[in-house]
């Protein structure tokens, strides 16, 4: 009989090892899944994890890694701060949409003005859009004790509907022959987030790296970071240490919203190009997996986002080459989170073989 014994301290070694084990377990079970779908599991795994990096057309896919990874990093960093403090913002997808709408709205208002300040203003508007959207669950939680999980999630559906309305009415391209969707920012140099499109480099990538460094310093070297960690691990102790919970909630949600909003803006002004009905592709939800897979640690998130970006790209290749359905990748990502959560048992508990004592 196996018995669980709580560790006095979470094991550091297991904490690092579990994400890797989870990835391996996902590959094994994912392989079985692909086999069940009638695909060769080894070819499928190779297509998803190897070909984008080292395959024949990797020169085309490698830049995509930055494009897909940057929004994941930006959003996951923001979410991880909240998750550490026990604040569950799961509506990043909505904040991402609202940031994109606000930023794109500013950009389109200036069109066709060619001035250096257009793009910075768009970034600020994007951050504010996401921030404002995250403040709704934040203020409701602080003022009325409303559950932030449910409110932030409801607001995702609201944001999607606003997106639909905007792309067919207010922000619609007046020269778009009646098709839904805004003007394309790739045709508007002053409002464009690309730095070097061939390399997949845009301002979102730069912002993501800055966010990682910022979060690392905040969590490890700053009093506020200590308060965030303390509130999550020992809420009572945090109260005694003089942490103001309301301020912390607003701060964590606000930061997460602003980062998600910026991610949305960088996406719309570069890789996506325009506001359209199908603009959001679920980065806000995948980022939740990224945050956990990265152990809520900024550097871990960077690695986890790279891996997730890889599965996105590999999944697309597998769709084209092997006819693997897009949903399989989504399931694959969900499975990864399952294994991670299950294996986390080893971080917090010791497995002991219990010998029945005879009396």
């Amino acid at each position: 009989m196996i018995r669980l014994e709580k560790r006095p301290q979470p094991s550091r070694a297991w904490s690092m090892a579990t994400p890797l084990l989870a990835v391996v377990a996902t590959m094994v079970f994912g392989g079985l899944l692909f086999a069940a779908l009638g695909k060769n599991p080894f070819v499928a795994i190779q297509t998803i994890f190897w070909d984008p990096l080292f395959g024949e057309y990797s020169f085309f896919y490698r830049p995509q890694l930055l494009v897909k990874g940057a929004p994941l990093v930006l959003i996951a960093i923001g979410l991880s701060l909240g998750f550490r403090a026990g604040i569950w913002n799961i509506g990043a997808e909505g904040q991402y949409i609202m940031g994109a709408l606000a930023g794109a709205g500013v950009g389109l208002a200036f069109y066709p003005l060619d001035a250096w300040y257009v793009f910075p203003l768009m970034v600020i508007a994007g951050a504010l859009g996401g921030w404002a959207w995250a403040m709704i669950p934040g203020l409701l939680k602080v003022k009325f004790g409303t559950n932030e999980i449910l409110v932030s999630l409801m607001l995702v559906y609201v944001a999607e509907l606003i997106l639909g309305s905007m792309s067919t009415r207010l922000l619609k391209n007046p020269e778009g022959y009646g098709f839904p969707g805004s003007r394309n920012f790739n045709d508007y140099p002053a409002g464009n987030s690309w730095i070097a499109q061939d390399l997949g480099m845009h301002w979102g990538v730069a912002a993501a790296l800055i966010a990682v460094i910022f979060a690392y310093v905040l969590l490890n070297r700053h009093m506020l970071g200590f308060h965030i960690r303390l509130s999550g691990e020992a809420p009572r102790a945090a109260r005694f240490a003089g942490v103001n919970p309301a301020r912390l909630i607003l701060l964590c949600l606000g930061l997460a919203g602003a980062l998600a909003g910026m991610a949305g803006l960088f996406e719309v002004a570069g890789p996506a190009g325009q506001i359209n009905i199908d603009f959001n592709v679920g980065y806000g939800f995948t980022a939740i997996i990224v945050a956990f897979l990265g152990r809520l640690n900024p550097l871990g998130i960077l690695l986890a986002a790279a891996l997730m970006a890889l599965t996105y790209i590999g999944g697309e290749i597998a769709q084209d080459n092997l006819g693997l359905p897009a949903a399989a990748i989504q399931m694959f990502q969900g499975m990864l989170l399952f294994f991670l959560l299950a294996l986390d048992l080893l971080t917090n508990y010791r497995l002991r073989l219990a010998v029945k004592e005879r009396t």
Binding site: I149, L150, Y157, A327, A328, G334
Partner: protein
């Protein structure tokens, strides 16, 4: 625009249909939460139930088998949640989210070949002359059997929780798992059973959408009903009859906004479609001040150390 085009009797009858998925999912989640488990995977279990019910109904031609499969599918997915939270002692919130993400992917995968198909229709309960009664007839009679099942389920859950020994033990586990454990109740076993029940109910609710309400299959067709069900349990203060009232209120909002879209009121469609979500938030705000009725051990991890 002509508001008199909206027939109030028909409105109430369709409201009940619109509310049933929500009611089924919420009553299941109520039992789960009463046992002290917070399962945020309702949306995932619903959509899995929706596709497994749809697939089986289409393949066998029997909606009854479809609903059976939906309950089994929802319960099967909830086993994963039970393993994560009760055996691997994982965080309830994160596990529930994982369940939803996984369920959405799984359902889209299974549902690939079912787009555009029509499920076999389920016959309405024929009560003969009762159906022809004015006003009462179309409202109370002539619905499908699952709708009546959902009402019966609410009554059963209420009675079991309030009057039976089983209900008392379940509530004890939810209020204080350490005390229940000390009294010798099998906390983990009871919770796993509650989670399975919740999964089956959510699965039924999902299948109600794909087999009766819509009826067809599209990806992500539950569109947040699972999340609204979670909110509903909170603002029903964990009381079964209030869940019923709340579900019908929301059914009313949903149906009314559809009708308003139909008569061409001067509000854009998107803003009308938002109303169920916005109203959920508003009701949550109004009713969330009082948390005293929440089960004491809700969402806490139970580990018997000795």
């Amino acid at each position: 625009m002509d508001l008199s085009d909206i027939d109030p009797i028909k409105l109430i009858a369709t409201l009940m249909v619109a509310a049933t998925p929500l009611l089924l999912a919420a009553i299941g989640e109520l039992v789960v939460e009463k046992a002290g488990v917070l399962n945020l995977g309702v949306e995932g279990m619903m959509i899995t139930g929706a596709i497994s019910g749809f697939a089986v109904a289409v393949e066998t031609g029997s909606p009854w088998l479809g609903f059976l499969a939906a309950a089994a599918g929802g319960a099967l997915l909830s086993v994963l949640f039970a393993i994560l939270t009760q055996v691997a002692l994982a965080n309830h919130v994160a596990s529930g989210l994982a369940l939803t993400l996984f369920g959405l992917g799984l359902s889209a995968l299974i549902g690939q070949s079912y787009g555009g198909q029509k499920p076999p229709p389920m016959a309405e309960v024929d009560l003969g002359p009762l159906n022809d009664l004015p006003v009462v007839g179309p409202i109370l009679f002539g619905h499908d059997p699952i709708l009546y099942l959902s009402l019966g389920l609410v009554a059963a859950v209420w009675a079991v929780l309030k009057y039976s020994r089983m209900g008392l033990v379940l509530r004890a586990v939810g209020e204080n798992h350490d005390a229940a454990h000390a009294l010798g109740y099998k906390v983990v076993r009871i919770r796993v059973l509650a989670i399975l029940f919740g999964g089956a109910c959510a699965g039924l609710g999902g299948a109600y959408i794909s087999l009766i309400r819509v009826p067809q299959w599209t990806d992500g067709m539950t569109a947040g009903v699972g999340w609204i069900a979670l909110a509903l349990v909170v603002f029903a203060s964990w009381k079964p009859w209030r869940v019923l009232a709340g579900a019908y209120l929301f059914g009313g909002v949903t149906v009314l906004q559809f009708n308003l879209q139909g008569v061409g009121i001067a509000i854009p469609v998107e803003y009308l479609s938002m109303s169920p979500y916005v109203i959920t938030i508003i009701v949550l705000v109004l009713l969330s001040r009082d948390k005293s009725s929440a089960p004491g051990s809700l969402g806490r991890i139970f580990h018997a150390s000795s």
